[in-house]
Chain length 561, copies 2
């Protein structure tokens, strides 16, 4: 970015898709970064572990970065922090006590040691100065404790970055959205609100934790057998409250899952752990020795994740001595995240086949509320802030456009932030239309085992092709002079039953050799690329005609000594 | 099955999963088949075209098959008819006029010619005798015209096979569920109802087509620009009614999509085509010449299908001269079928990015109702039929179990039909517990190009592996005596960037050769299997350690002449 006296914004993630949140604000040449989130792979990114923002822009402007601010401890806001750590140019990273613990855990896993003072633990409503910016953490209700909006003051005006929020007077640990402070900010004057769009299309109230807890308590009261409870691990406020209630009814409590146990450790340090639970905790191995009605098991895996406790239990597996049986009850206190439906339904089906009683959003709407405010709550936030402009963020295009239309209906001026584009908000260079310009080739990086794959990687396109149409590996021996030293050898994967289809393989071999001999009548390959293309074409054509498939062809030239 | 004097049922599909419906009833040694449906591939069946029932049982009992009865023209009930045609042993196939036309189309595509009288067109409430069975077609409301339940009379009692149904007095073409006839059957005595479970977890009313049409008409009234309407092609009753209304308001109508045009041809022959539409139809190529407010386009592809008109339009493509633009309106009058969410959201996002106004279930609940009755309607059907037993079918385990619980609550006796198990309903061998026995290894066949893959195919597991973790093709030249005639050659797909990671490839080659030379110090491979396993292990280990991935390894031995 330039050193112009201007205020601008650039989204490195979180605009045009859900997750991978990362926003860069620039003021008079100083930069701050808000959040560093991941998103999760789908059918277009097979085999990938997580997806992170492309941080090339940060590396190129590392010297200008004055600070990084984390809004809350959800993976889509914090999950990439370790992968991006070295891109911040050593700038301090601000995070709440809980978020800071999560950051430390992530750094530790990657073997990163922050320098002295690089990770700063924030206080509620404290202000932090970073170059031309002053940033204040304003509490909001959300589905993890210590969630914050950021009030970002600059010489050009105030930005309110809402982060994820809702309005809920019964939020766990009393973390209400600080309406009074937002109203004050509104009175002082807000230039622009960067607002969460997640539930812009939800017309009904987002609902409160209060009735959810009451409903879950009733379910505990009326359940006689073993009880398994699954919820998002980060939403431990709900889980601990439910577990404590179950404990008060004489059930011993067992926490299954790595992530919930991590949060449990943090909760104990930070004072979020209900004292009444302490003596009711049992190890998984002790559960089978207890009467059915005296057991409460927290299981991880509300989204059908492969290795999670709940998924394994639904498959009838023995998880540390626990095996589900007819008469057990599973409460899935969560919602299906789009894209995970099939995996979640498989879990519910597995449980049904075990004659386990399943209570989920499919048959009970009282067991969960979203952490994101519905349309009406988004409107309430803007009525408090009275922003001059509204920039919809945190959403796919369908959410962002709906947010724009709603903002306009409510009398605000929406501005459109395009992925990878710099939107000038105020100062030099701002024009009446608030047009934006591309400064960063927008995309993602993909964590794939120990590789980090760049934008639009060939590797993922190859995986998609071979994963749908299969592959033929061809090999042909060549002498030093290029003379063919044998016949072509073929192996396939994901294409045909090689044992039953020997004839087809023979046909394919013949077709490939015939093609080669037509082009190179003396059987001397003086142009390997041309030869490989000919083999590829002949094999593809054969499998297309004979089997209706278009496999990937790999040609290995084998040099004979 | 045996020649015992008994009545039994065997599900070859549709029990334990959605789609692939196929039921076999047996009475005193005679068999009838109900429906022959497909289901569609998901992440576990990559590259597959459609999934059909495993019909080995039918082939083995072809002589006993007296008839095949089709309930309605939806793909999940009729889509496999061509693939299974030869498994019916020449038995007559009964289908309504519309369903018979669809069957004929499918046979034609596969080059199958039915023999004289093999495809029988049914009449409403007519009875058809097939061995020990007499089958009557009883009309029901559903989301395609000519949908029927089957009243199946046998010497052991009456089975009512509900098929897909709801209760709707405003169903297209006046096809109401024939309550009077179901009540009569109930009076005469119903032994067992095989009931649809699809919407057993829907507590609210399934809703009527009447309000949907009114709502769609209002949307047409208030839309000024171009209008694109997408709905399931088979639900042409709704589409034609909406198109006729648009035409009455002066809009010219264009039908985009192969399937809707097929249904249009059938509709014209069968009297379902509204006369008022006839002179309002335009070709796609004419659309761009019309004023925006004078256009109504039917586009196929409510489920985000790859090549469909709507998907291509959402990508900004020019579809036969039509390109969407800001200000156009798209109405998606359908619901998301589980598993298709991501693809559908991509379409909606694409439209949003074109600044097209999208009306879908996400922001308007009035644009669609399901063709399947909710829980209350399922109860209503049973109150009419008063069946001695209820067998929940057409559902995943989660639906079937919920249906069992509901049936019991309502005072009926549910029986559990397990996939591939024979459930004896009456006669010799029936026991008090109605226990069932496995007679058929339950599974599916997969149409994969021109291949038909068997149950649990290795090929699909291979695809899943290479599609997530990539592949290494290794080749090694051997002389006739087994002597290694060169070095190992490696190529990869979906794994690493070969250009950038030459060093890693070299390392992998070295590791593989070292391993080989340790096992075969004289470089003579006298055990190819052992050698291939050693290469596989060495390469896998290298890529696991260096890149965190576990690729599939293919070893090609190349014989040098």
């Amino acid at each position: 970015m330039t050193k112009l006296k201007q205020l601008s914004a650039l989204a490195l993630g979180g605009v045009g898709h859900i997750g991978t949140n990362m926003m860069v604000y620039e003021c008079n040449g100083d930069l701050i970064v808000v959040d560093a989130g991941v998103s999760f792979p789908d059918e277009f990114t097979p085999g990938v572990d997580v997806i992170i923002p492309d941080t090339k822009f940060l590396r190129e402007h590392a010297k200008q970065i004055k600070a990084v601010f984390i809004t809350h401890a959800h993976e889509d806001h914090i999950g990439a922090i370790g992968y991006c750590w070295d891109d911040f140019g050593g700038a301090p990273v601000y995070a709440s006590p809980l978020a800071a613990m999560v950051v430390q855990g992530k750094l530790q896993e990657l073997g990163i040691k922050p320098t002295q003072g690089q990770l700063v633990v924030t206080q509620v409503r404290e202000q932090y100065t970073a170059g031309a910016f002053t940033v204040e953490y304003v509490p909001v209700s959300h589905s993890v404790p210590e969630s914050f909006a950021l009030a970002i003051k600059t010489p050009h005006g105030t930005i309110v970055h809402t982060g994820d929020y809702k309005f809920d007077d019964a939020a766990p640990y009393g973390q209400k959205t600080d309406e009074a402070r937002f109203a004050e900010l509104g009175k002082e004057g807000v230039l622009v609100a960067f607002g969460d769009s997640t539930n812009i299309n939800k017309m009904d109230d987002s609902g409160s934790e209060g009735p959810v807890l009451e409903h879950l308590q009733k379910l505990i009261d009326t359940t006689e057998g073993r009880l398994v409870f699954a919820a998002f691990a980060s939403h431990f406020g709900r889980s601990f409250a439910v577990a404590a209630y179950a404990a008060s009814k004489g059930r011993k409590v067992c926490f299954l899952g790595r992530t919930i146990n991590k949060f449990m450790a943090c909760a104990k340090q930070l004072g979020y752990w209900p004292a009444s639970l302490q003596n009711m905790i049992v190890d998984a191995e002790e559960v089978s020795g207890l009467p059915d009605g005296k057991v409460f098991i927290f299981a991880s895996g509300t989204q059908g994740e492969g290795g999670s406790s709940l998924t394994r239990l639904s498959q009838g597996a023995d998880v540390r001595g626990i095996k589900l049986k007819a008469g057990d009850t599973v409460i899935m206190s969560s919602r299906m995240i789009p894209g995970n439906e099939r995996g979640i339904l498989n879990v519910i089906n597995g449980l049904a086949m075990l004659d386990v009683n399943v209570i989920s959003e499919l048959n009970d709407h009282g067991i969960h509320v979203s952490g994101h405010g519905s349309r009406e709550e988004i409107g309430k936030m803007y009525r408090l802030l009275k922003p001059r402009y509204v920039v919809p963020v945190h959403g796919e295009p369908l959410h962002l456009r709906a947010h724009e239309v709603y903002a306009k209906e409510q009398g605000y001026t929406p501005l459109r932030l395009k992925p990878g584009h710099k939107l000038i908000l105020a100062g030099e260079g701002v024009d009446a239309a608030h047009s934006s310009s591309a400064v960063h080739p927008h995309g993602f990086n993909y964590i794939d085992g120990l590789n980090i794959l760049d934008n639009d990687p060939l590797i993922l396109r190859e995986r998609k092709a071979i994963g749908h149409q299969g592959l033929v590996a061809a090999a042909l021996p060549l002498r030093k002079n290029g003379q063919i030293a044998g016949t072509i050898s073929l192996s396939t994967r994901g294409l045909i039953d090689e044992v039953k289809q020997q004839k087809l393989l023979q046909l394919a071999r013949n077709k490939a050799m015939q093609t080669l001999e037509t082009i190179f009548p003396d059987r001397r390959i003086d142009n390997k690329q041309q030869a490989a293309e000919a083999i590829t074409k002949a094999l593809r054509h054969t499998f297309k005609m004979e089997r209706g498939k278009t496999p990937t062809i790999v040609v290995n030239w084998v040099d004979v000594q």
